[in-house]
Subunit: 321 residues, 2 copies
């Protein structure tokens, strides 16, 4: 197992994230080894192994390593982080389908249904959901307490399902096209608009990001106070990640983004950027960064390996794709 032995002070995030991404991708490639039916597995591999930031997987590992330290065996966390990436890939495949966002490009390549057809793409998404659950059950070392494993799978299902990511996607869809209403509605306070946007984000991207941080820490043996703090941290990071995403949609281009920009405004999507504008969005990001870092510097966490998490927060905010 490749590890990095550095104190928080002399910590190199580039090297850390690169080594972790390599481990994640190698494991994912192993879990998604070619199998029968060929075209289904090819379609699954296409979306899971197409590069990407692997932010959720990195968060899961960083959260675990925040608790156990940087030079430990990360096998158990690695497979959990891989399961999370399978689900993330599934959400992108389904989201890109013509019935939803109808996107042609993702990570600079044609979307899954453009390559494998809509039927296979849809079923590949379904299969990835199940493979994620199966992987956690089949691969988690037997030394992990069975009830903890069940807690993780239960919360995983909630984070993905109607009360989590999928619920957020539905909310997002139900507000799509209503941007002008919100902009023109003088009765609505800015506060209630902000709450609507936060509710959408909390589900759509927040739930899985929060699960990534929580599950890594739980499996690593974090105490209750640490878990609560890390969940609060994940809320800040998740919200910041989504606002940064919306900013990139507004200011980026296909070459750097790898997906079609300007779609939120064109689709009348309700986002922090389309409702409050870019300047307010950047201010909100600064606020979230400050709040997130403050949580990591709480006494309960400050003596742990918090550097990867704090760097991932900055990365979520300042990334260019």
């Amino acid at each position: 197992m490749q590890t990095i032995r550095l104190s928080n002070n002399e910590y190199d995030f580039e090297a850390y994230s690169k080594s972790r991404r390599q481990l994640i991708e190698a494991k994912l490639s192993e879990y998604l080894a070619a199998s029968h039916p060929d075209n289904l597995w090819q379609s699954m591999r296409y979306s899971v192994l197409s590069g990407g930031k692997k932010l959720r997987a990195l968060l899961c590992l960083a959260s675990a390593e925040c608790i156990i330290g940087l030079d430990k065996d990360i096998e158990a966390f690695l497979l959990l982080s891989c399961a999370i990436e399978m689900v993330h890939a599934m959400s992108l495949i389904h989201d890109d389908l013509p019935a939803l966002d109808n996107d042609d490009y993702r990570r600079g390549k044609p979307t899954n249904h453009k390559v494998y057809g809509e039927a296979t793409a849809l079923l590949a998404g379904d299969a990835l959901l199940m493979l994620a659950i199966e992987t956690i059950i089949e691969k988690t070392p037997s030394r992990i307490e069975r009830q903890i494993l069940l807690n993780i799978i239960g919360r995983f299902s909630q984070a993905i399902g109607a009360t989590g990511m999928i619920g957020g996607q539905i909310l997002d869809l139900s507000f799509t096209g209503k941007l002008e209403d919100i902009r023109n509605n003088k009765d609505k306070t800015t506060d209630s608009e902000a709450k609507t946007i936060e509710a959408i984000h909390k589900g759509k991207t927040g739930a899985l990001i929060k699960f990534s941080v929580w599950s890594g820490a739980l499996l690593a043996g974090a105490n209750e106070q640490q878990l609560q703090l890390l969940e609060q941290f994940a809320d800040k990071l998740g919200f910041a990640f989504q606002i940064a995403d919306d900013l990139l949609d507004s200011t980026g281009n296909l070459a750097t983004l790898g997906k079609t920009p300007g779609k939120d405004e064109a689709a009348n999507k309700v986002t922090w950027v389309t409702v409050f504008g870019e300047k307010t969005a950047r201010e909100k990001l600064q606020k979230l960064e400050k709040e997130g870092l403050a949580i990591l510097n709480n006494d309960q966490l400050a003596n742990n390996q918090i550097a990867p998490l704090s760097e991932l927060l900055k990365y979520a905010i300042y990334r260019t794709n």
Copy 2:
């Protein structure tokens, strides 16, 4: 808990299946209580609570009751059977989408996407998958051994995923339109065609039916020999169910079927009926019935409550919708 206390000899299948269906539907309604976002939950309820045979749930209960007897507490099996029905409903929702079978009617009502739109239907399917897993974890009594629960969830994921139901759907799609090739291909033996059809069916409908029978018996404490026999029985029943389905597609009408008939031939689907004809299909059904009943009459099972299972086998074959 409503129960039926009858010996196998004086056993009333109508009363049995009616009482069990009511219990299943009441529980499903409880697990799918209206929640937020409204339209997502409505869409989920629409397909799960739209009547239907509830064959998989009945099989799970009957398999459990084959082991524990007919007058026992079936709470733990009931929730498992509900989770199976959620997944079955999900498979119908996704299957009916324009990207797959493009069906307008199901159980005599407009299909999910015709009522709620494609985006919501697709996401409702995803959400049902997760709700099924969540329900098993949240609702199973704590007296059930945790490792057994994990085994059940792991095998459930396999039965649904790329190696089970979804894999079968992909196989089905890949052979759709190739009916003429198979009919005209003189080099191919009848045997290899039969194997192709069996492989499709084993995944598409067989995997979830087999899981239903296996999981009910496992949770009920069946021994290894009983589990193996019940799995063999489920294979016969699953295959017979699908051939009966294909016969109904060929001979039924919208009023009795509740869905559009004649679609297999029109879509050039490879089924036992389209390849070998109705007569051979009926002969195959008789053979499967005989084999299935013989398994139940094995010494390891014959003294158990096998009547519900044997009646369900006949029902799977002789039903009219």
